[in-house]
């Protein structure tokens, strides 16, 4: 055999999770912000410790777990599913039956989190694998319709299974994020109550200006979720960079060629459904637990569509895109509301943006110019919630047409732009 001067053997470093130094630094900085931000220990991010923001951030983290699942199924394996809300509900109801308190009208076993949380994922995954044989027969839009059917079947079930879901319109309370060894035992760690994170942490004053002995419940929930999200993101990445993830991407890009190269199509799709549903189940259970009480009507098509929006706006098939999309979709309603409120005040007080406010906002029943009614002016005009739906709709269309890689693609472009700076094209 001839000599091979060009054979490349220095790929060890390339195959790490964060292959370049800049990626390592970025993830380190992110971790630092995640630890110090909520403790209000960072100079410019003091607001990050604000409870109302943290509640929203926590919701985004919970959604991120479910979104990682839809990213594997839709972004990586190319199977467009509108059934995510259904699988989230399966997880949430598994959690509440196992971990919730029994009542006169509802079942509940009161088991601890280390049972109900994994069980939520497993139950959803099992149902996912169970419906997969039907789902793998159809493609594209048909698959979207079939999975949408699941959502409607689910809604019917949740409304009628009072023992599990609580009554229509009322729902039932979910178990809290607290770690006990067994039912009726005092929790060793509570991730929801105010107070020290952990009894043995209190005596040590880790950072003098950070008062961990009087941590808010939201901050503790945040830490719990951040760790969980990081673990699940790494697992998703690992799946994507090994045999199974490659077979998914191959099925997505060209299913017949994938089969001819030895990929079992139905098996790959079934695995994608199962694993994606596991993520959905975990996400659903955590979502319900963080919110505290969920009515059966919540697991509707709009919840599913939100996840499709996350994938399309963030960028299909990438972990970074999944996070960008999730945070965008969860946080933007709040931002839109704040901006609308700001413009409304400007219009009223005659600030520098009052002209924009008076065009954009309908502030009273006899104000006929404006797109958004704020606060709740009667008559025509969108509500803030409706404006958000319109915004997502427009953004999905824009990204589908102009930037299929979503926010991730925009970020890539920006990065490449600055990489070449000052020699830009």
């Amino acid at each position: 055999m001839r000599g091979r001067p060009n054979l490349y053997t220095e790929y060890k470093a390339e195959m790490g999770l964060f292959p370049s130094m800049s990626k390592k630094i970025a993830i380190g900085l992110l971790a630092l912000i995640a630890i110090l931000g909520p403790l209000a220990a960072l100079p410019f991010l003091g607001f990050a410790g604000d409870a109302s923001w943290l509640i929203l951030v926590n919701k985004a983290l919970v959604f991120a777990i479910a979104a990682l699942g839809i990213n594997l199924l839709t972004g990586v394996a190319g199977q467009v599913s509108l059934g995510h809300a259904f699988f989230m509900a399966v997880g949430a109801y598994t959690a509440v039956v196992l971990g919730g308190e029994a009542g006169n009208t509802v079942w509940g076993l009161g088991l601890p989190i280390w049972i109900w949380l994994p069980a939520a994922g497993v139950a959803a995954a099992l149902i996912g694998v169970f419906v997969a044989p039907t789902a793998v027969r159809v493609r594209g839009l048909y698959l979207a319709f079939v999975t949408l059917g699941l959502v409607f079947i689910g809604l019917y079930l949740w409304r009628n299974l009072g023992k599990i879901a609580g009554g229509p319109g009322t729902g039932r309370p979910w178990p809290e994020l607290e770690f006990a060894l067994w039912r009726n035992m005092d929790p060793l760690v509570s991730f929801t109550s105010d107070g020290p994170l952990w009894w043995w942490l209190t005596p040590v004053n880790w950072l003098p200006w950070v008062h961990i002995e009087e941590m808010d419940g939201e901050v503790k929930t945040f830490f719990f979720l951040v760790v969980l999200v990081a673990v699940f993101a790494i697992i998703a990445k690992n799946l994507m960079r090994t045999r199974i993830g490659r077979s998914w991407a191959a099925i997505r890009d060209r299913d017949i060629a994938a089969e001819v190269m030895g990929v079992a199509d139905a098996k790959g799709k079934t695995q994608a459904f199962g694993i994606s549903s596991f993520y959905a189940g975990m996400g659903g259970a955590l979502f319900a637990s963080v919110v505290g009480r969920i009515i059966p009507e919540s697991w509707d098509i709009f919840l599913s569509v939100e996840f499709v929006a996350i994938i399309l706006i963030g960028g299909a098939g990438t972990i970074v895109g999944t996070f960008l999309g999730t945070f965008f979709v969860v946080l933007s309603p709040r931002i839109v509301e704040n901006v609308t409120g700001f413009l409304a005040t400007q219009a009223e007080d005659g600030g520098p943006f009052s002209w924009l406010g008076s065009i954009f906002v309908r502030s009273s029943a006899d104000d006929w110019i404006g797109i958004v009614s704020y606060p709740d002016a009667a008559g025509p005009g969108l509500s803030v919630a409706q404006l958000n739906i319109v915004l997502f709709g427009v953004l999905i269309v824009v990204f589908l047409i102009a930037e299929p890689l979503g926010l991730y693609g925009i970020w890539l472009r920006a990065r490449n732009y600055w990489k070449g700076w000052p020699f830009t094209y």
């Binding site: 045999r243 490659r246 991407a249 001819v260 030895g262 199509d265």
Partner: protein
Amino acid sequence: MAFVTAPLLEFENVGLSFKGVNALTDMSFTMTAGELFAVIGPNGAGKTSAFNCLNGVYKPQRGDIRWKGDSILGMRPDKVAELGIARTFQNIELFAHMTVLQNITLGRHIRTNVGWLAGAVWYGKAKREEMANREKVEEIIDLLEIEAWRSYPVGLLPYGIQKRVELGRALAMEPELLLLDEPVAGMNLEETEDMARFILDIREELGIAMILVEHDMGLVMDIADRILVLDFGQVIGEGTPLEVQNNPNVIKAYLGEELTA
């Protein structure tokens, strides 16, 4: 106990039709391990259809296809692949959003077995497997001289390079039989010579049997051991390049000209 080893591949009276139109009629041939077998014939003769029958993509209505003596008729494409039958496609069928590395590594699918659980954990089995994959893939990248394109999504690559990546993906399967569907179609002289060199390298260094479907008669006559000629789905000639060039049926089908190249 018979001591006669079965041939690598046999087609026996294979017949395939689409809504009454015969794509293949009574196609029969036999090939042995390590052989470079060529299938030629005018457009629409049924060459690609024969590959699709072998791969399990099409199911022939008549006849039998045997691999090492056992019928593989009705087998799923992925099961056929697991036997060690790899393929490139006439119209490139790469995974467009995956990089060159990922495309070629996908070819390792049948030679690896890490499942979802070990994959999710990464450390241990999955990491070892990925490292071994990478070593194998880098050898192929070196063999096919596509180092410069390693981390590009294949959709962005020039046509000639895509053809090579497709060959690389098939080689990563470590096949016993490689099906090449018009590997030099649409290529200029230099690219054609490169590809011919790769095909000969594969034969000499790796000893893989090949079925070559190609319209470039110069190439076929130069490198094939044996040639099968198809016309309208029927075998009209078979033999060494010299025999085929002198076969009157073949000369008639091709109007005599191209064959003497």
